[in-house]
Symmetry: D2
Subunit: 308 residues, 4 copies
């Protein structure tokens, strides 16, 4: 059953995939993490995004993670599955599997290996092939830091011609472009900020929410920025946004997934090891991160109480 897309807004964390010390998917750890997150007013979760190390999982692991997540994501919360693969056919297949497992939306990264040949036409064809067979809405995933391709406004508008392509998660941060996309496509096209670093400015140009690594470790703060904005308290939103900037950079551009997992460990969630070729933080970097968490008002002790 398709959900009402007007409800697709607010804050969703792109959750990390927990591994145990043998580098296997740690199913119980995911449950623990989701139980803690479920206590917050998060709209839902992105599973197998960049923070989920989706590209580092085997095809079977991907299905295991999606199934486990769906079990522990309440029915009234959105589950968005990252299903973009290098080939069109593998993307179609994984999207179909995700639908069977119960994903509400598919988040589809543009295929980027042959980027020199990824003309607008090739991308339109790829997204249309996936959308035609998906049976659930498709969210474009613009992630230039990982794909080396920054979808321009015209391309996004061209992809959105397909009725199932209903929005975008943009991690590029060019909010002027997001504004142009929103201007061209109207409020029905759901724009999500892909990083807390530009959540407030993106909301100011018509974004409906954020899919934010930071929401894994500071869900209350991310929700508060969004709530303050929608209730026209921009100053209050800005104050929290300002406080989150350094810690957000630490778990995104600076240290990425390894930073995010280390922060989760420090805050009493389960982060655990990253999978190679990613490299864990050094002890010194962990100390620096710890100090940043404190400065951001995200102390380990407070969270520990909420853990059990």
């Amino acid at each position: 059953m398709l959900r009402d897309l007007a409800e697709l807004k607010g804050i969703l964390p792109p959750i990390p995939t927990p591994f145990n010390e043998r580098d296997e998917f740690a199913r119980d750890r995911l449950r623990d993490n989701l139980r803690a997150w479920n206590r917050c007013a998060l709209t839902g979760y992105v599973v197998l995004g960049s923070n989920g190390e989706g590209v580092l999982l085997s095809p079977r692991e991907r299905l295991d993670v999606l199934r486990a997540a769906r079990e522990d994501i309440p029915a009234d919360r959105w589950m968005i599955a990252g299903t973009g693969c290098p080939s069109t056919r593998e993307t179609i297949e994984l999207t179909r599997d995700a639908v069977k497992i119960g994903a509400d939306v598919a988040l589809v990264l543009p295929p980027s290996y042959y980027r020199g040949r990824m003309t607008r036409e090739a991308l339109v064809r790829h997204y249309a092939s996936v959308a035609d067979t998906a049976g659930i809405p498709i969210l474009i995933y613009n992630m230039p830091a990982c794909t080396g391709m920054d979808l321009d406004a015209e391309t996004i508008v061209a992809l959105a011609v397909h009725p199932s392509v209903i929005g975008i998660k943009d991690s590029g941060g060019d909010v002027a472009k997001l504004g142009a996309v929103r201007a061209a496509l109207g409020p029905g096209f759901r724009v999500f900020a892909g990083s807390a670093g530009f959540l407030l400015p993106a909301l100011a140009v018509g974004a409906v929410g954020g899919i934010l690594a930071l929401a894994n470790i500071a869900p209350a703060e991310c929700l508060a920025i969004h709530e303050a904005f929608v209730s026209s308290r921009v100053d209050a939103a800005w104050e929290i946004q300002l406080r989150m900037i350094p810690i957000n950079a630490a778990v995104t551009s600076r240290w990425g997934v390894a930073g995010l997992k280390a922060a989760m460990d420090l805050l009493g969630r389960y982060g655990g090891p990253v999978r190679g070729p990613l490299v864990a933080l050094t002890q010194r970097e962990i100390e620096e991160l710890k100090a940043m968490l404190v400065r951001a008002g995200l102390p380990q002790e407070d969270e520990r109480g909420a853990r059990s």
Copy 2:
């Protein structure tokens, strides 16, 4: 006499330098344009910025334009002079000349020809040398589309250590970075959006205004966005911002100075020819621009009345 920097906010157009058909500075046309702009509540003007074709002028022409502008910019409006040159010594010299002529602030582009050697240290040294001798406040000018160098947050913070470096005009549009800069330097550091495409989002992360090509042809709309934002009417601001997006792109990223001058001609101001290597719009592009002006609610006829 130094002005109160707390007043440096709001909207300032970076004005084009008018040339006559013999490719000479058209002094009278500048007067006409300034008289029309002076009827609006613009904070002041940037002279010899990128839109002023400053880099295409001879040293003598630069002084001519600055002098002419100062004569026609009322004493209570800010005159910001673009004084960045390839060498430190030429930048110092032009800045001093601008001070003598009556500039209130110098807008200093980072020298970019030897960009491979423009380390943070080299840039700090350059800006400090200029700021030490300027006698007026310095605004950093981050303009990656022209310099091929995008100043990062750390560099901006390092440049701002000098007490005379009081703010930045950023045309790069990475508002997450602007937020980080504002977070690091506090409200005393004046951040200006460098393009109307991200004026509203920049205001949302603490910018105090915009230095906007669009303000040359749509000053009322730019002022209205700013006013709506500061009076907490974000929706009203967004509505105007949304309407301005296509025409702003036309006079910035798409057609640049040639587009801006053509738009001014269409709106009853004096745009006139661009100087080579810039190329004028084709007749077909002018027709397209005309239609965009109408769609943006900037019709030629209305403005014509305000011209004489």
Copy 3:
């Protein structure tokens, strides 16, 4: 049994993976193609490289293609298997499988999805993990057009510290860098030009051969360039190189794998369809390609005889 690395030189085509009209691996077509290529003095073949659409194949298909190729590659020719995957563990696994199947060398693309975190240390660790368990020599695969990461000379030198990392296929074309690498690592480090566009200049700075898309359709010409160079007839080499430049661009930077497959079809080999998201050439592009083949002295008719 390990081969004598001193013999790893000369020309090797990175062969395309043939698909039938149902988008399945066309095993017989690969046999036909290899039989034709085996008549030339090619040193060996790269299987599952970028031209092999390796990233678009499922894990099982990759093994099928490697097995089929090994059956039809004579024992005295090198089989180099592309085994680079996004994760270290998958790369290790595929490399081991390739060894079992009989690959002589593994060509390992650097993992690029999390490129912001792919520090020199992370890459050294990744390559060392793969090389430690491979049991066959490793060739680095620098392919900035596909990975968005251009390995610099220092990184290449750092990777080569591992005794099993014995060379590089470079498709970036910065021959000054290749010279620097060769200068630092000596003649034991095997440098291969990754495109015929710079085969001759790469040989001039110490490369031992080329792994060239062009060698799929013009093996005789590629071999002739190499032979002329090693026998000090640079002018003769340059004359052929010059004639190959346009057609080489057509099957690499301009049209990529789709261009290569179309050229094979035109020349009486089996190219067949590309897999999505790649897009086939239009009829008009095919006509243009046909004319380029003729101009390059690679006419369809001559080749047809050699086909059966």
Copy 4:
């Protein structure tokens, strides 16, 4: 009187502009340097190139340097003047002045400030305007590290339609592109390698020589590479090329003009200070440079003898 362009080949250093300690052009030092260089079989000199800090000089200084150079460059050696300025009109003017002073060829950098608008058409128009009025041959100067614009093969071919545009100095190092340009334009179009790092490979694809920073400090070695190549001793050429790679990197990509001037000082020539925003080498960097000179076989003592 126009020289025979067939003679425009071989090695030319782009000479640095010497400044005294008061940051003024040190006319006598230039004479000393030229006298030393004139003892070598250099084809001529580039004055006011990137290594000449041309963009950091005032209009008057540029003429002073050109005049001084012409006095001390023997009539039988080529003087190539760097005359590219941001505006077409200033470029025309400086080119004319250079002609009057006796320049044989003008080296024209593409104007890059408004690079977003520097379409092929705009560049063709710019170069044609300059070439139409120059009266001397024009050499295109492709210098992506400084302009942020890398002229592609099609653009170079389009510029070469003008009969006065007779060649290119390419500092980008994409020798596949140089080969393509040479293939399209024939041997009449003079291609010069813009850095010693790819001199030999460029010669292998049809370049006629090099305009090389390294030729300021190692003219004999640069000449020897060229001579070995033209007499078909590629191995001998490669041996010298190999030895020059680290020191060439030091005076180009790594430390630029400051490195070059420091090396000249160490070798008994006059380097002297760089002009801001360029920054001199630290003492530690000078020590490192010294060691590199020795390793390259360019010891200070030997040269000192040749100085007086």
